[in-house]
């Protein structure tokens, strides 16, 4: 039998290729392009090699915002993951209240990010906001527009309020999928509440928690809108995270080369951390 060669089917992939090229590859390549060139406008470009990368990597400003970024991401992960698990564990397993809890939990996730920022801005204002006013009325000196510690606390609280729900929902789904026989076996074996958590629930939650961790890591590492609306990166630069700094460099100062190099470094860092974490946590799964 003669085999017919007809590769026309590849044309069907063309639209997808086109879309991916336009929305991912071309912009990324533009950034790569900017990162190795200097421009003074008029569409005139000069090749600069690795100059921008070297500058970014040696810049104190970049180090500072990177440090703030890691501190922020670390802090919210340390709060949101355990808190999400605790909340999921204490939610009812079934019945009307389970649905009520789920809806309540999902609410913060449905609010647009800039609205979250605006809400917390007003909520935390020391003179009229419920939170700010109450804290000051209790004798605590709190003003997130002037005190770095207050600003940090507010940004962290806002992120915890906004995103813990995601961890809760993932962990809750993970908990629901544990077969009842495990709990019964644990009772028969005389396991304590802690042992049930340590040896049944936590191992069974491992995969959803890895997903939760990755999602929260990536999202918080790229956080922009909420702190931008809430503090604008201030007071001073104390809440200027990487993406805020990046936008400042690119659009505020029009340092396209620096900004492009920053973007690429930023992108590679996110990729590297996710890959490292995923590989390390999946190690020993396949034996």
């Amino acid at each position: 039998m003669q085999k017919t060669w007809n590769n026309k089917a590849w044309f069907l992939v063309l639209p997808v290729l086109l879309i991916v090229a336009l929305n991912a590859v071309v912009p990324l390549m533009t950034v790569v392009n900017y990162s190795v060139q200097e421009t003074f406008g008029d569409n005139l470009f000069f090749f600069e090699g690795t100059r921008w990368f070297r500058e970014v990597l040696h810049s104190d400003r970049f180090h500072a915002s990177l440090g703030r970024q890691f501190l922020f991401t670390f802090t919210i992960l340390m709060i949101e993951i355990p808190l999400g698990v605790i909340v999921a564990l204490s939610m009812p397993k079934s019945g009307v209240w389970a649905s009520v809890c789920l809806v309540l939990m999902a609410l913060p996730l449905l609010i647009p990010w800039n609205v979250v920022g605006a809400m917390w801005n007003i909520f935390a204002l020391p003179d009229i906001g419920l939170l700010g006013y109450s804290l000051n009325a209790l004798g605590i000196d709190y003003n997130f527009t002037r005190q770095p510690v207050s600003a940090w606390l507010t940004v962290v609280m806002m992120d915890v309020w906004h995103w813990t729900s995601l961890v809760v929902l993932l962990a809750y789904a993970g908990l629901q999928s544990i077969d009842g026989a495990y709990y019964q076996a644990a009772r028969i074996d005389g396991a304590s509440r802690w042992s049930v958590f340590r040896y049944i629930q936590l191992p069974k939650l491992k995969h959803v928690l890895i997903i939760a961790f990755l999602l929260r890591f990536m999202d918080s590492f790229m956080i922009y809108t909420e702190p931008f609306v809430l503090t604008g990166g201030g007071p001073g630069n104390t809440t200027t995270f990487l993406s805020i700094d990046l936008v400042k460099a690119a659009l505020g100062e029009f340092n396209l080369g620096i900004a492009a190099a920053m973007s690429l470094i930023y992108f590679l860092m996110t990729l590297l951390v996710c890959w490292l974490f995923y590989t390390l946590s999946m190690k020993g799964e396949t034996q």
Binding site: D179, A181, Y182, Q184, A185, R187, I188, D189, G190, A191, S192, S195, Y199, I200, P203, K204, Q287
Partner: protein, 356 residues
Amino acid sequence: MARINLDHIRHAYSPNPQNEDDYALKEVDHVWDDGGAYALLGPSGCGKTTLLNIISGLLVPSEGKILFDGQDVTHLNTQDRNIAQVFQFPVVYDTMSVFDNLAFPLRNRGMGESDVLKRVNETIEMLDLGAWSKRRAQGLSADLKQKISLGRGMVRSDVNAILFDEPLTVIDPHMKWQLRSQLKLLHKQFSHTMVYVTHDQTEALTFADKVVVMLGGEILQIGTPEDLFERPSHTFVGYFIGSPGMNVLPIALEGASAHLGAQAIQLSGGVSVQPSAKVEMGIRPEYIHFDPNGMDVAITKVEDIGREKIIRAQLEGSEIALVLNENEPIPADPKVSFKGAGINIYADDWRVDMGA
């Protein structure tokens, strides 16, 4: 190890049972011997899992009491009943080693580490798990995992009973046999009281000293495998046990003879039944054979299953099955007769004794 006393137990899942049909488990009043191996056998929804859950303490029966060695445990929860259970799907603690899995119930009860070591090593030896004792339980095969969950029960020397809830469902066929015989062996050696739920008659008959056959929430018969085969006390038992099941034929009684259509079959004794009762004769396929002086049958189908043949035939308008050795020929003019010892008489589905 304990004697289990099921004292007039009934259970309904709804709060206000109005009539007999509302009970998922109809009245059970039995004593199960210490060290016995019992199998609860029946089709899905027959109440066997309900009964098991009542014994394990997952369910409190609506009525009646359950006693372990004379002590009322009806309202004790699972952990206080001191039982062990092997579930349908293997339950192991993934992150622990096999050794730690087995040590878990002992450590939770505050046993000293040197005693733990001794008991666990004994159990590992008993179950042949030595090669895996240091391995993490996670990647092991289903049959090893089931052994581990069995081991977590056996490691405690004082368990009242070990319960099995269809434990071989996820095991490969060739391992099923092996596990079953090992279970039987362990029971012989250590004589734990064992209760085994299954819907597979082979499993029940090979495992248990006593098989409890259930249907529609009711216990139809508790007996040895031989009892169930020779003297099924209900037509369902006859039909459910054995392959093919018992033939059940409508008859009319006249003294010590049974009329099946135009045929008369001599019984070993007289039978008295209610005049309104539906009377049937039960005869297993193994007790019917070809006989030149027997009753005329018309063969409808022959199923060759290897060592033997199953013959389906019409006898006086009823369908019967009989079993034939593979080398026995099928006669051209088939006539059959029944072996007297294999005949049971049923009135309204329940077995009635024949007088001498």
